[in-house]
Symmetry: C2
Amino acid sequence: MKNYEIPVRNIRVNDMFWNGQIQNAVEHVIPYQWRVLNDAEPGAEPSHAIANFKIAAGEAQGEFAGFRFQDSDLAKWMEAAAFSLIYKDDPVVRREMEDAITLLEKAQLENGYLDTYYILKKPDLKWKEISTGHELYCAGHMLEAAVAYQQITGSDRFMNVMDKLIDLISGIFGKGEGKLNSVPGHEEIELALMKAYRATGREKYLKLAEYFILNRGCGDGFTKEESYLTMMEKHPDLDPSYYQIHRPLLEQDTAEGHAVRVMYLCTGMADVALATGNKALMNTLHKIWNNVTGKRMYVTGGVGSQGDGERFTIDYDLPNDTCYTETCAAVGLAMWSLRMLRLEPRAEYADVMERALYNNVLSGIAVDGEHYFYVNPLMIKPDVAHYRADHEGVEPVRVKWFGCACCPPNVIRTLCGLGGYVYTQNESRIYQHLYIGNHADIQVAGGKAALECEASMPWEGSASIKVTAEKPFELALRIPGYAKAFTVMRNGLAVKTVVENGYAVLTVQGGDTIEVGFGMDAVFWCANPRVTEDCGKVCLLRGPLVYCAEEIDNGANLQDLLVDPTAPVSVEPDPLFGGIRVLKARALRTTDDGWDGATLYRPYTQSKREPVTVKLIPYFLWNNRGEGEMTVWINRTGE
Amino acid sequence: MKNYEIPVRNIRVNDMFWNGQIQNAVEHVIPYQWRVLNDAEPGAEPSHAIANFKIAAGEAQGEFAGFRFQDSDLAKWMEAAAFSLIYKDDPVVRREMEDAITLLEKAQLENGYLDTYYILKKPDLKWKEISTGHELYCAGHMLEAAVAYQQITGSDRFMNVMDKLIDLISGIFGKGEGKLNSVPGHEEIELALMKAYRATGREKYLKLAEYFILNRGCGDGFTKEESYLTMMEKHPDLDPSYYQIHRPLLEQDTAEGHAVRVMYLCTGMADVALATGNKALMNTLHKIWNNVTGKRMYVTGGVGSQGDGERFTIDYDLPNDTCYTETCAAVGLAMWSLRMLRLEPRAEYADVMERALYNNVLSGIAVDGEHYFYVNPLMIKPDVAHYRADHEGVEPVRVKWFGCACCPPNVIRTLCGLGGYVYTQNESRIYQHLYIGNHADIQVAGGKAALECEASMPWEGSASIKVTAEKPFELALRIPGYAKAFTVMRNGLAVKTVVENGYAVLTVQGGDTIEVGFGMDAVFWCANPRVTEDCGKVCLLRGPLVYCAEEIDNGANLQDLLVDPTAPVSVEPDPLFGGIRVLKARALRTTDDGWDGATLYRPYTQSKREPVTVKLIPYFLWNNRGEGEMTVWINRTGE
């Protein structure tokens, strides 16, 4: 009973919470990013991405500009644009896509090669800088976009371009005489190949992905020319673990190195494990999953504790202000979680996926849809962040675009492809992981079915699902880890369900209306005491949302607040941002009694404190009202 | 009534607490560092300092090696070695000093120039790299050494060498046609010139020092060729404030930039203010002092909150684990405090001086006398310090030597010159700032006097002072900020004193025995709530000593400890390190109830806790028993 994905074209999100951001992405951000990619948006850093392709296509003069992985920005936009057609079949976007594909066709070399950095800048070094070159990374993102475009439009044009490139790569990489025995310097193509495999059924995609996965970390580097020694000579700050090649992948049991790389690797690894049934891979996945979620993940679903190397560090090293917690890494964690759900539908994977999506992914984009965070700290003091060198990459305000613009298009493709995260299925059962309103057309139990879901998440814990179906099938409804008193009604009547691995399972048939309800309390959480930075602190969660306190609501010096984790927290509607739920918690605030600008230390006396109410807003909404302090973890009163 | 220094040769420390380290410095470290400077110590990084002089002197072949300020390592050793003759008139050291002076004489150019880096490596760039060149810095340290050598041995040889160099510098630097109008890139020569002025009375030293001080920050950089713009092109990470030239010195009111530079600048500035009575300089000194001690100083007397730039950052930014708190900066703070005491004998300056000496200076050297800290953090998790890039420079264990070896000889010259910190005087009064056992010969009230002091600091608050004197004089005894019930006895009888600015003043005469006594409680201290990192924490101080908890005494995960700041603390003798006082505080320790390697976050419940006793040792002794966790600031129980 393999669990597989439901094609994203078949799921159209229609949800009071997400519609705004998706509509914004479709109506504004896709056109905005198109202008950025064309260097036509005033005030944004020039992207050069399309200019590079035009030069490679012979349509413009000039030199390559931007990062060596600049092509991937266009790729991510193309994937998002393809997804956007689900929501708005815009002839302008279709034409832009076709124009872009024409550019790719013209830029592609006779043998299938396609990477503007090497075509234009380093023609003699193709496939010679595997560790840092990003050719396979860019190919992966292009392939993801091509699969999306084919699935949504039915057009093979883009896929044909990519097929030629993948055939070239398959011919070059591998074991044996005359082959280049290596793995990608930045994982990504593995998961893309597996998407292509699932979409087309062509074995060549699976074979190449499996080779890249199983070969990872075998040997002393990427190639003979790029041994550990050579790499570290060229990049003394990057050790083999940065690339996840410090030991054979099957012997790895912790998340090491560049966080986005790890997440993309694990996503592709889970895809290969599912397709091949490789138990050793599953075992490795479980070990790394447990290491990440049990020792190296922020409560927001963020990963990557250090800006230097944008990487995982060591167990329980989770500073809130000098973290990296890149938006792309949270996207990666959501992707990986979805794959784990395909491997084994356990609600705990969905809890992590949901947490990453609603917090660290969504915080990456402003409510205006046009400003982005790359780094998503859990605490900020703007003056410290501006000043200190150890706050590398930590920006106190979202910016319009980045020279290294991996995150903005990654958020947009995630928003436009959000439907893909809602369900997985097997032959006879549909798993609903996220309570996001949507319409889904699904093949199940040998017949056609459709689900029409309305939901009131994340503000309230309820959803209703109208079922249309030719044949009865099993519906497995996730019981979120935070749910209180989970109930299921069928056509207005309470129904008993079988609970399996955190899912309430029942058989449904056409005409059924299923209603799900569960309470969501605002709950104080604490961290494992090994996390030094969270000692004596708590954070507030309600449902999938992590909350935070901002200076604009609570005044400066948020460290003066001591929330009382034993007092009730009120959940209140607030007109902010078009209507949200804010939390109000009881706290004491130390007053500045006796302290002045001349005194830095003094004998301890109990501080004077006054009772105050702390107002908390969802973390993903922070810094939408100007620069100021913010904290997720708040000091608590003692015991 | 000017306050002035008592020549260091006249004060011989003889103190149960300091004798060990001074004797160690004299017997072992001076010879050890001499071997290091001669590249003859196995296991220590080669210094090259003497080799450079030999090459410049024509006595050896080779190329300059080491940092451009390598000469200063020899200079600091020479100053320490000169001081060491107070304690042990060792013919070997005398010969080494004479040999070194011979080398200087031979290396010195005809016109007086003396800096091996420029003589050997960049002969055409003399006086052309003022911002980074360190020629004036090295000259300053050499001059300090020459003054010490002259004062202690009576020999003019070394001073003659330096006099030629200072004459050269005086001819080159200054305002007006053909002069180089600039200031040192690293302050140091100002305070050295003032030492030479006080020792010799020669006005030329004062004039040059005054010029360097008053000219600082006037103009757009060091010279026309080294404008801000040029400097920042060459060193984009260093802004003008790094060098304290961001505005005219008299308009500066905060401590900015490289911490050692600031401390040396303020020391020289105070010297000039005292010698010239310049009120504007005094005003500036007060502002910067208040900024440092009121907003930017660690409780250990450490300054410099950030490794990047080894610098001051912003008010209240005092992280305990990613600080810099360089040993040299604490030496600088002690030097500056001593100058403030000469300007105005107020006990608060002595409190800071004593705190820096007993904590951040002394922590810079191991009890074995041969291992050193450059950075003196107030908290360490060794695994985090080893791993994280933002712990730049933070070593969890002392090392034998440093390629950039400013700190080790700086500690040694401070130890050997410690007598200079005990007293200041004016015509009719002697101020005793530190209760350190010593014998001092002093001219006061128009006659000869001698003080024979025995003290039991820092373990107990008592001292006895036997007075020999031709004429009666006033003795002003510091009442430490931490003293409880300060009493003074004369010849066994309680005596009433007049308290002036924190000093108990009485008139004494030959034959008197003065006994000082005061209680020293172990006291919990807290930090200004603006210091985010110290929120919810306390530290324990007793007398001048800051205490810390180490893993070896208290187990790992020191963050699990919650001391009770309302419970009594016991002060206990302990045989560690030859006999010290340890503190034992009551605390709760959170037990790891229910937490396991799989759980990172969970809904808050009050942790189980068990009562424990925390053992604390003086901070300066940390890391003398192997690598482990340490913290000065400890979480406290709530209220």
